[in-house]
C-alpha cells in the first residue's frame, strides 16, 4: 500500500485513488463540490486544493487539486499551509458572489453541502456589494423544483443526469457567469432517476417539490432505516416524518444494492402513506354497503365470533412482510393458506426461486452487475420493472471505456478523460424484448420478438453455444459477445408472464458457466417481497383458483394486504364476492377488495411498522417504523397475532413481540434460518442506550401538540426495535441496518455518509447490507430444450404488458404526483400499426374480445413485436386485460381521456390544509 504524507501525518492509501479520496478516507475535512464518489472527478470547482511538495526540502510547493491528483508513494502534501487555506477560502468567496442570501427560505438549508463547505473554510464576510446574477427558473414537472440562482456551477447535475443516468433533456447552457442548468424549454423531466438531482446538487437548485409544499427542516425530521416497497430490487431508503406525516424519502446508502441512488418511484411514490384513502379505524360493512367505524376491541371480538369452529382460510401477499405472511400461514396452517400470487405470478416467482437455488452461475448483487462486461436482457424493460438494475447496467456498459483507459494508465475516476477517450464505445448490451425499452439507447443489439419467440431465441442461442452452430449472423455475434466477456450477465424477469423466458435465461447462464465460471444470472421479481412469499410457500398451500372455485366452502377469508382484483380475472373476483364468504381484509389503503370485505382492518404502512422483505437476489432486509401508527392502525403482524390468539392458536398466542415471530419463523423454515441476523433485535443497545430516530437538534418536541394539550406528552415507547422515538440515545457505530439518518459534526448534508464508510464508495462501517437467504446449491439446472410452438398468427393482436415506472405499481399510484405522471392507461402501437388503424398519439382505440371491451389512449412506441400491441400494465383500468390474450382493435371515434389531468402541485396545498393541523 502506498503511503502519502499530509501535513506531516503519514496516511496509508489505496493504490490508484486520488488525494481527495485519500484525505476523506483518513477522516480529514477537505472541502469539495464537483467530485462525487460514484461519478469521479472532473476538477471543475477548484475547491479541494492542497499544496504538493517535490520532496522534504521543498518548502514552497505548488497548488494542486486533490481530486485530480493520483496518490503516489511518498508524495507530500499540505492542507493547512496558508496558501491552500487562502485559496480554498477564495474559491468559496467567488462562488458566493452570485449565491443568494436565502438560506432561511431555501429547502436545502440545514442539509446543504455549500453551507457546510462555507463554514468549513471559515468564509464569513461578504465583501462583494455588486448586483448578483439572476436567472429564470423552469417548470420541471411535479417532482423537482428549480431555483437556478443558487447554482454554483459544479456540473454535478448534468454529469449525473446525462452521463450516469442516460437522460438527455437536462444540461448545461451558455458559459461563464451566464451558465445555466436546465431544459431547453419548461417541461417534465424525462429521466426515471430525476429525483437524485435533489441529493446530487450540493445546494438548493434542485429540490424535492412535494417536500417543499409540506416542508420541515432535516433536523426536525424523525427518520428510520427502511426498505422501498416499490419493486423487487429492495433499495434502502430513509423516510422522514413530522406531525404524523411522511414528509420525504431520501436514499440510504447500501453498498450492495442501491449505493447512492434510487429511482423516482422510490423517492416520490411513498406519499400514499398520507393519502386520504388510508384506513383509520376498523370498518364493519353495514347492510346498506356503507362501513361503520368501530374500535379494535369490537372488531377483534366480532372476528373471533365469526371464526369460532368455522373454516378460515388466509390469503397472504407478496407485498407484505415475511413476518405478517408467516403469522397468517402458521395460524391457519399451510393447507388453509394461499401465498396470494395470481396463478401465473405464483408459478413464475416460484420458478425464479427454484432456478436461483440450483444455478451454478453467480446470482449478483446490484453492485456486482456493474462489473459485467457483456449483458443480455431477455424480455424486460428494466428501467420500468426494476429501475435501479437499469441504472447499474448503464454503468456496466462503461466497462469497455474503463478498460480502454486502464490500458493507457488513466484511472477510472478521471471521469472527463475516460469519457473523452471512449467517446461512444460501450460494452455489449443485448436486449431481446417484445417492445421498445428505455435502455435501447445504449444497446449494441436489439431484437423485437413476441414473448414465446424470446424464449425460442434463447434456446437457439443455447444450442449454438453448445456446438449446434447457427447460421444466423445475429446469433453468432451475440454468442461471440457473451463468450469473449470476462463476466457475462444474463438478466430476465417475469414482466411478460412467460415461463419459457426464465428457463431459457437459466439455460443460457448454465451453458455459459461451462465456459466461464464468472457468468452471472439475475432474475427480477415484481414485488417487494415476491421472493419472500415464494420462499415461505408450501406445496400444501391453496392457490387463488382453488379458493375462488370452492369459495362457498370457506366461512371466513382473511386477506392480508392484497387487492385481489389485481390477481384475479373479473369473473373469478365476482365468483368470490358472490359466494357470501365473510371477508376480513387488512390493508393500508382502501381498495376494491376492502370494499367487498365484511370487516376492514387498518394496517400500518411500511413507514409505521417493521418487517423483513426479500428482494430479487434473495437478500433479506429489515425496515423499521419511522413513526407510530396513528388512530387504530396496527402493523398487520400485530392484527394477525391478536386474531390467532382469539382463535385459540396455542403457539401464536404465546407470541407478543416482533422478534419472537422472527425467531419462530427462522426455526421453522430452514431456508430462512438466518432471518434473525438481518438486523439486531430489540434488545440491541449502544453503550446501554437505544438509537435515536431524531436528530440532536430536533425542535418543538414538547410544543408540537400544544394545540391539543399543554401538558408535555411522554415520547412514544418503542418496545419492538432498538430505535427510540426520541433524540436521546447514542447514534454512533451502530450497524448500518440501524442508521436512522446520516449526520456528522460539520457535515449536515447527505455527503456525511463518507464519515461512516471505511472508504468512499465502500460498505458502511459495521456493515449490514442485509443477509442473502437465497443460496444456490450449485448443482446446476439440466436444460431440456422444450419445443415451443413459434408464435402462431391467430385472430387478432396479442397483448403485451408494458411496465410503467409511474402507474404500474399499486401503492405508489395513490400518490398525486405519480398519478399525474402516470397519465391515462394506454395501448402501445408502432407508427405503422397506428397508420393502419388511422390513429395518432392521443387518439383512442377500442380493444375488444370475448370478455373485454375497453377504450384506451394510443401511445406510439419505436418498436413492437409483430402482431402484438402493448397495454399499460397494473393500471386499475387495464386490470381486466390478460397478457398474451388476443384482441381486436379499431379506432374509437368518441374517445375521451379517462380523467382530467391531475396537477399534483395544484392539489397539494389543499391536501395540506386538510391534513396538517399545524400548517
Amino acid at each position: 500500500m502506498p503511503k502519502i504524507i499530509v501535513d506531516g501525518q503519514t496516511l496509508e492509501v489505496s493504490q490508484g485513488e486520488n488525494v481527495l479520496q485519500a484525505c476523506l478516507n483518513a477522516g480529514l475535512d477537505l472541502p469539495y463540490f464537483c467530485w462525487h464518489p460514484a461519478m469521479g472527478s472532473i476538477g471543475s470547482c477548484r475547491q479541494c486544493a492542497l499544496v504538493q511538495y517535490q520532496n522534504e526540502h521543498d518548502t514552497h510547493g505548488r497548488l494542486i487539486m486533490g481530486c485530480m491528483t493520483a496518490v503516489t508513494d511518498g508524495a507530500r502534501f499540505s492542507m493547512d499551509t496558508s496558501n491552500a487555506v487562502e485559496f480554498r477560502k477564495a474559491v468559496i468567496e467567488s462562488l458566493m458572489l452570485n449565491h443568494p442570501h436565502d438560506c432561511p427560505v431555501c429547502a436545502e438549508g440545514g442539509e446543504c453541502h455549500l453551507q457546510d463547505m462555507t463554514v468549513m473554510v471559515k468564509h464569513r464576510d461578504r465583501r462583494y456589494t455588486g448586483k448578483k446574477n439572476t436567472h429564470r427558473n423552469q417548470y420541471l414537472g411535479p417532482l423537482i423544483h428549480h431555483e437556478m440562482n443558487r447554482c454554483i456551477t459544479c456540473y454535478r447535475c448534468e454529469r449525473f443526469y446525462q452521463n450516469y443516468a442516460g437522460g438527455t433533456d437536462l444540461g448545461a447552457q451558455a458559459s461563464r457567469d451566464r451558465l445555466y442548468f436546465g431544459r431547453q424549454t419548461d417541461g417534465v423531466l424525462e429521466s426515471e432517476f430525476s429525483g437524485n438531482l435533489v441529493e446530487v446538487c450540493p445546494t438548493g437548485v434542485f429540490t424535492d417539490k412535494p417536500f417543499l409544499a409540506d416542508y420541515s427542516r432535516k433536523w426536525d425530521l424523525q427518520s428510520a432505516p427502511s426498505i422501498c416497497g416499490g419493486c423487487g430490487v429492495g433499495c434502502n431508503i430513509a423516510p422522514g416524518e413530522r406531525y404524523g406525516r411522511l414528509k420525504r424519502v431520501h436514499n440510504r446508502y447500501n453498498h450492495e444494492v442501491n449505493g447512492y441512488f434510487i429511482c423516482d418511484r422510490g423517492r416520490f411514490g411513498n406519499a400514499y402513506v398520507n393519502s386520504q384513502k388510508r384506513l383509520n379505524y376498523p370498518g364493519l360493512q353495514m347492510p346498506d354497503g356503507r362501513f361503520k367505524a368501530i374500535d379494535h376491541q369490537a372488531a377483534l371480538s366480532r372476528a373471533a365470533h365469526w371464526m369460532k369452529n368455522k373454516r378460515v382460510v388466509g390469503i397472504g401477499s407478496p407485498r407484505a412482510s415475511i413476518e405478517s405472511n408467516y403469522v397468517l400461514q402458521t395460524w391457519l396452517g399451510a393447507k388453509q393458506f394461499c401465498a396470494g400470487f395470481s396463478e401465473r405470478e405464483g408459478a413464475l416467482t416460484c420458478g425464479i426461486v427454484e432456478i436461483l437455488q440450483a444455478t451454478r452461475a453467480i446470482n449478483p448483487s446490484i453492485k456486482q452487475m456493474e462489473s459485467a462486461d457483456a449483458v443480455l436482457v431477455l424480455g424486460e424493460d428494466l428501467t420500468n420493472s426494476a429501475p435501479r438494475v437499469a441504472l447499474a447496467l448503464r454503468q456496466a456498459v462503461r466497462n469497455k471505456s474503463i478498460a480502454m483507459a486502464e490500458q493507457i494508465g488513466i484511472p477510472e475516476w478521471q471521469d472527463a478523460a475516460v469519457r473523452n477517450l471512449a467517446q461512444d464505445a460501450l460494452s455489449p448490451l443485448i436486449i431481446v424484448s417484445s417492445a421498445a425499452t428505455r435502455l435501447d439507447d445504449i444497446a449494441s443489439h436489439v431484437h423485437t420478438l413476441a414473448p414465446n419467440d424470446i424464449a425460442n431465441f434463447g434456446d437457439v442461442l443455447i444450442e449454438h453455444l453448445r456446438g449446434n452452430i447457427s447460421e444466423d449472423v445475429d446469433i453468432i455475434n451475440i454468442a461471440d459477445c457473451l463468450m469473449t466477456a470476462k463476466s457475462p450477465l444474463i438478466i430476465s424477469g417475469v414482466s411478460l408472464l412467460e415461463r419459457g423466458i426464465l428457463d431459457s435465461a437459466a439455460g443460457l447462464a448454465e451453458t455459459l458457466y461451462d465456459h466461464n465460471p464468472h457468468t452471472m444470472l439475475s432474475l427480477c421479481a415484481p414485488e417487494a417481497n415476491s421472493i419472500g412469499a415464494a420462499m415461505l410457500s408450501h406445496t400444501d398451500n391453496l392457490s387463488l383458483a382453488q379458493i375462488t372455485e370452492r369459495a362457498s366452502d370457506i366461512d371466513v377469508l382473511v386477506v392480508l394486504e392484497n387487492d385481489l382484483t389485481r390477481r384475479l380475472d373479473p369473473t373469478s373476483m365476482q365468483q368470490l364476492i358472490a359466494s357470501g364468504t365473510t371477508i376480513i381484509a387488512l390493508d393500508i389503503l382502501e381498495n376494491e377488495t376492502l370494499n367487498h370485505a365484511t370487516l376492514a382492518l387498518p394496517a400500518a404502512s411500511f413507514a409505521e411498522s417493521q418487517g423483513t422483505l426479500i428482494n430479487m437476489e434473495g437478500r433479506a432486509q429489515r425496515f423499521f417504523p419511522a413513526f407510530k401508527p396513528a388512530h387504530e392502525r396496527q402493523p398487520s403482524w400485530q392484527w394477525l397475532l391478536h386474531l390467532a390468539a382469539l382463535d385459540g392458536h396455542g403457539e401464536l398466542s404465546k407470541i407478543i413481540h416482533f422478534d419472537e415471530i422472527v425467531h419462530a419463523c427462522a426455526q421453522q423454515h430452514s431456508p430462512l434460518a438466518r432471518l434473525t441476523e438481518v438486523a439486531p433485535d430489540h434488545s440491541f443497545r449502544r453503550h446501554g442506550q437505544k438509537i435515536p430516530r431524531q436528530t440532536p437538534r430536533y425542535s418543538g418536541r414538547t410544543a408540537m401538540s400544544a394545540d391539543l394539550s399543554v401538558h408535555e406528552p411522554q415520547q412514544p415507547k418503542d418496545l419492538e426495535t432498538p430505535l427510540a422515538f426520541s433524540m436521546e440515545g447514542v447514534n454512533q457505530n451502530q450497524p448500518a441496518a440501524l442508521k436512522s439518518f446520516v449526520w456528522s459534526p460539520g457535515w449536515n448534508s447527505n455527503q456525511a455518509i463518507q464519515k461512516f464508510q471505511a472508504e468512499t464508495q465502500k460498505p458502511s462501517v459495521g456493515v449490514s447490507s442485509g443477509i442473502r437467504l437465497l443460496i444456490s446449491s450449485g448443482k446446476g439446472i439440466p436444460h431440456t430444450s422444450t419445443d415451443r410452438t413459434a408464435f402462431a398468427q391467430s385472430n387478432g393482436w396479442q397483448l403485451i404488458p408494458i411496465q410503467c415506472l409511474h402507474g404500474s405499481e399499486e401503492l405508489s399510484a395513490y400518490t398525486d404526483e405519480i398519478a399525474e405522471l402516470a397519465g391515462d392507461p394506454f395501448v402501445a402501437l408502432t407508427e405503422s400499426c397506428a397508420l393502419e388503424l388511422q390513429v395518432a398519439a392521443g387518439d383512442g382505440v377500442i380493444l375488444s374480445s370475448n370478455n373485454v371491451n375497453l377504450s384506451l389512449a394510443v401511445k406510439i412506441v419505436a418498436r413492437m413485436a409483430k402482431n402484438c400491441i402493448g397495454f399499460s400494465a397494473g393500471y386499475t383500468q387495464t386490470l381486466s386485460l390478460s397478457a398474451g390474450s388476443h384482441v381486436q382493435l379499431q379506432r374509437d371515434p368518441n374517445w375521451r381521456p379517462f380523467k382530467p389531468l391531475v396537477i399534483a402541485s395544484d392539489r397539494r396545498p389543499n391536501a395540506q390544509l386538510r391534513h396538517n393541523r399545524h400548517g
Binding site: 433533456d169 431547453q184 424525462e190 461512444d424
Partner: protein, 171 residues
Amino acid sequence: MSQHLIQTDVKSTLSTAEIAAIDAEIAHLPYTSAAAIDALKIVQAARGWVSDECLIAIAKHLDMSVEQLEGIATFYNLIYRQPVGDKVILFCNSVSCWICDCDKVKERISDLLEIDYGETTTNNRYTLLPVPCLGACDRAPVMMVGDDLITHLDDEIIETLFGPNQQAQSD
C-alpha cells in the same frame, strides 16, 4: 423535448441546401453529433441567426437532444439565438484596443446608430456586440462589420461608415 422532436419536420424547417451542406459535414466525421457546430454555422449563414424551430430541426437531424444542441449553441457567443441586424458589428474592447481609446470610438458608434451593446438598430441594419479580441492588436482599435475587418478606428472612419450621409445614402 421529445414532443418537439416528434412534431418538428426537418425537411419543412431546413432548406434542401442547408440539409445538403450539413450532410456534407457529417460525411467527414465519425459521429453525426460532431457536426453540431458546423450545422449551426450553416443555418446561421443562411438565415442570420438560429431560431428555436431551426435548433429543434438540427437536433433532430443530428440525432441529439435539443438540450445537448442548445448547450453548444449558447456556449458560443457568435452563434446567435436571437435575431440580429443585417450586419453584426463585432467591436473589440480588449486590452490593446482599450489602450488605444476604443471606448470613445464605441461612444461615437452608439451615438450615430442609437444602439448599445446587444442592441439592433431600428432599421434592422446593425447589431452591436463586444468581442474580446480580433487578433489585430497591431492595428488597434479594430472592429468587424459583417465580414470586413476595419482597423485604426477613429471618428472619421466611424462617420463615413455610420454617419447620417452614409445612412441616408443606403436607405
